[in-house]
């Protein structure tokens, strides 16, 4: 039994992704002359993982159900820019950020509902539907509502929340870095996602639908309702993540998240999710997001120009999916 468990473990993508993460960290640590594991670097990397990591959770849950969502950054962008604009115009959120968050969550949920309605009730190709909603949402924020960038006038409570920290660290040269308190929210979302996917019938429904939709329906799941709820919740969470981004960046730029999905989706797939649905785990996704974040944050440490960052990201993903494709072919024989 023990041996078979070991075998089952080594057959999983998550296991290898984890190994790759460790090897890569050690490698960068060696090349950069020990800069990676300095407390300031670690804190910076963890901080820049908050938003991407949270988006990855949303993306993972949708992928497990067999969907392919391109619209979650657009939902987040519309939700936060509309929410901050409303807050600004009404003078809300100067001391308490919660109304802004609630507003963004509601807006996100409404937008997610549109996704859910089209996908669940018309059974269309999710990628094309979300490509449409993504563009549609961008059109709403930039065309219809003409939402403006909010930088210096951003409500104070958002800024305060973004700069609040759990602890501060100093590196050998006396540089200070702070661990944002919003990191806690990332950890909470990871725990919730893991709980929902593994310990609730809703989560198992997502795996079941991703594995075989017809069977899930026959087994007694209400597939339509499940999908509708899924996309609505995903929209709400996206809106929430959008607000976190506003706080961290101390600004609200409607266009800021355009194209973000193209970085998140490949990372989630790198972490073991299948675009055909039914596969994927929180652990693998967190590892994959860590790899991407570590790579892009340590470019400067190992002396590479930041303009090469995109190329490195692309290369990591290309190599990652190629290796896992080769592995799948070998397993098949």
């Amino acid at each position: 039994m023990n041996k078979s468990m070991l075998k089952r473990m080594t057959h999983r993508t998550e296991f290898w992704i984890f190994i790759v993460l460790i090897i890569m960290c050690l490698l960068i640590q060696a090349i950069s002359g020990g800069q990676l594991f300095e407390p300031t670097t670690v804190v910076t990397i963890l901080r820049s993982m908050i938003v991407d990591g949270m988006f990855a959770m949303v993306c993972l849950v949708i992928m497990v159900s067999g969907g392919f969502d391109l619209s979650f950054p657009a939902i987040a962008a519309l939700a936060y820019s509309l929410s901050t604009t409303i807050c600004l115009n009404n003078g809300w959120c100067e001391t308490n950020p919660i109304p802004g968050f609630i507003l963004a969550v509601i807006i996100g949920a409404v937008l997610g509902m549109l996704n859910g309605w089209i996908i669940a009730y018309f059974k269309l190709n999710t990628m094309i539907v979300t490509l449409g909603t993504q563009t549609f949402f961008l059109g709403i924020s930039m065309g219809l509502l003409q939402l403006k960038e909010i930088t210096s006038t951003l409500p104070k409570s958002f800024k305060a929340l973004g700069t609040s920290y759990l602890f501060e660290v100093y590196n050998s040269r006396g540089l200070r870095s702070t661990m944002s308190s919003l990191f806690i929210l990332f950890v909470i979302l990871v725990i919730i996602t893991s709980f929902v996917l593994n310990k609730t019938m809703f989560g198992r429904a997502l795996y079941a639908i991703g594995g075989n939709e017809v069977s899930a329906e026959r087994a007694g799941y209400n597939v339509r309702r499940t999908k509708f709820i899924l996309y609505t919740v995903a929209g709400a969470v996206s809106g929430f993540i959008g607000m976190i981004r506003v706080c961290l960046a101390s600004q609200s730029i409607p266009k800021a998240l355009v194209g973000k999905e193209m970085n998140i989706i490949p990372a989630v797939i790198l972490g073991g999710a299948s675009i055909f649905g039914g596969e994927g785990s929180v652990f693998g996704t967190v590892c994959a997001i860590s790899i991407i974040t570590v790579v892009s944050n340590s470019m400067l440490l190992i002396g590479i120009d930041t303009y090469w960052q995109d190329l490195f990201n692309g290369a990591v993903i290309l190599v990652g999916i190629t290796v896992s494709a080769l592995q799948a072919m070998r397993r098949k024989g």
Partner: protein
């Protein structure tokens, strides 16, 4: 004629939509809409994304999707423009510059062949799902472009390039339109009159069955990715002539627009289906909407996103009514059932 529309209900529907769009803009904009400058403007614009759409159509029919064409096209355009800029100067004759431009375009095409080949290899030899493979390649090409240009536009093209781009062939056909017509004729010929086209539809319907029917599916899919990339790179070279420069994120809205056109024409990446005439009508409809909307002064460019996104969603929802479980299919079933009974 009547027979043709009875057989091609969808084409008839597209023509009705086209007429409706024309009517709308004629009513709201009056004669301004039918001015010569308007028409020539349209003919200058649609060949760009029209060429890209034709390329992507091949991919869709074969049951694949290419998400990398914008990034690859931009990369190729950057290299081509860099080459042209480096090899021309003010003292050169037009003939010599023309030669350099020709080589530049050839470079872009060669990069297209290479990029399409890599996509094809990833999909056929490594069995990576096409969406994934091409998104990854898109990131790589974009990475190259950013690294090469540091995110800036590459400028300094000789005047001749945009002059040719704005010239007329035979006195009245804008040069980009001329290129598009050639591209369209070649695409129509490939799809309708060659074994390649016939096999493409069959591969798109069931690639495994095609393989078991002694068809070289791997080669043909690689070829299809190459055709797609070459078409879209040529489209990007037309874009260079309107922009007079090349940049890493030009044309990023085209992914959306091309997919919209194909969905409007009933071509889905599920494969096996696609009529080139429908695609042509869809291209024209989208161009008319795009130009017509621009005539409203109070509308900014992002309004277009709203319209494209909304239109795509509406078309998608309506298409479920037309095919699949929709009323057309139900009628067909009823008809067949009635015929069986008799």
């Amino acid at each position: 004629m009547k027979n043709y529309f009875a057989k091609n209900k969808y084409t008839a529907l597209l023509l009705i939509l086209l007429a409706a769009v024309l009517l709308f803009f004629t009513v709201t904009q009056g004669s301004k809409f039918w001015s010569a400058s308007m028409l020539s403007g349209m003919c200058m614009q649609f060949p760009e994304f029209g060429m890209i759409t034709l390329g992507l159509m091949f991919c869709f029919i074969s049951g694949n999707i290419d998400m990398s064409f914008v990034a690859l096209g931009d990369f190729a355009a950057i290299i081509a423009v860099k080459y042209i800029v480096a090899h021309t100067n003010d003292t050169m004759s037009n003939g010599a510059i023309g030669g350099v431009i020709f080589v530049g375009i050839l470079i872009s095409v060669l990069i297209g062949i290479f990029g399409g080949f890599i996509n094809g290899i990833l999909v056929t030899m490594l069995n990576i799902p096409p969406v994934m493979a091409t998104i990854a390649m898109s990131l790589v090409w974009q990475g190259f472009s950013t690294a090469l240009t540091r995110g800036d536009a590459v400028t300094g093209l000789p005047m001749l390039y945009s002059e040719v781009g704005h010239s007329n062939v035979l006195g009245f056909i804008p040069f980009p339109l001329f290129i598009f017509i050639i591209g369209f004729v070649i695409a129509a010929f490939l799809l309708k009159c060659t074994t390649y086209g016939e096999k493409l539809y069959m591969i798109g319907t069931n690639a495994k069955a095609a393989k078991f029917s002694a068809i070289n599916t791997k080669f043909l899919i690689i070829l299809t990715f190459i055709i797609c990339a070459v078409y879209s790179n040529l489209g990007c070279m037309i874009m260079v002539s309107t922009m007079s420069s090349a940049k890493a994120d030009y044309g990023s809205s085209y992914l959306m627009r091309c997919i919209l056109i194909l969905v409007l024409a009933g071509v889905l990446p599920d494969g096996g289906y696609g009529k080139i005439m429908d695609v042509l009508f869809a291209i024209v409809i989208v161009q008319i909407i795009s130009s017509g909307v621009n005539m409203f002064p109070q509308i900014n460019t992002y309004y277009a996103s709203l319209i494209w996104g909304g239109l795509l969603l509406i078309v998608l929802i309506l298409s479920t009514k037309m095919t699949g479980d929709g009323f057309f299919a139900k009628k067909a079933v009823k008809k067949a059932a009635a015929a069986n009974k008799n």
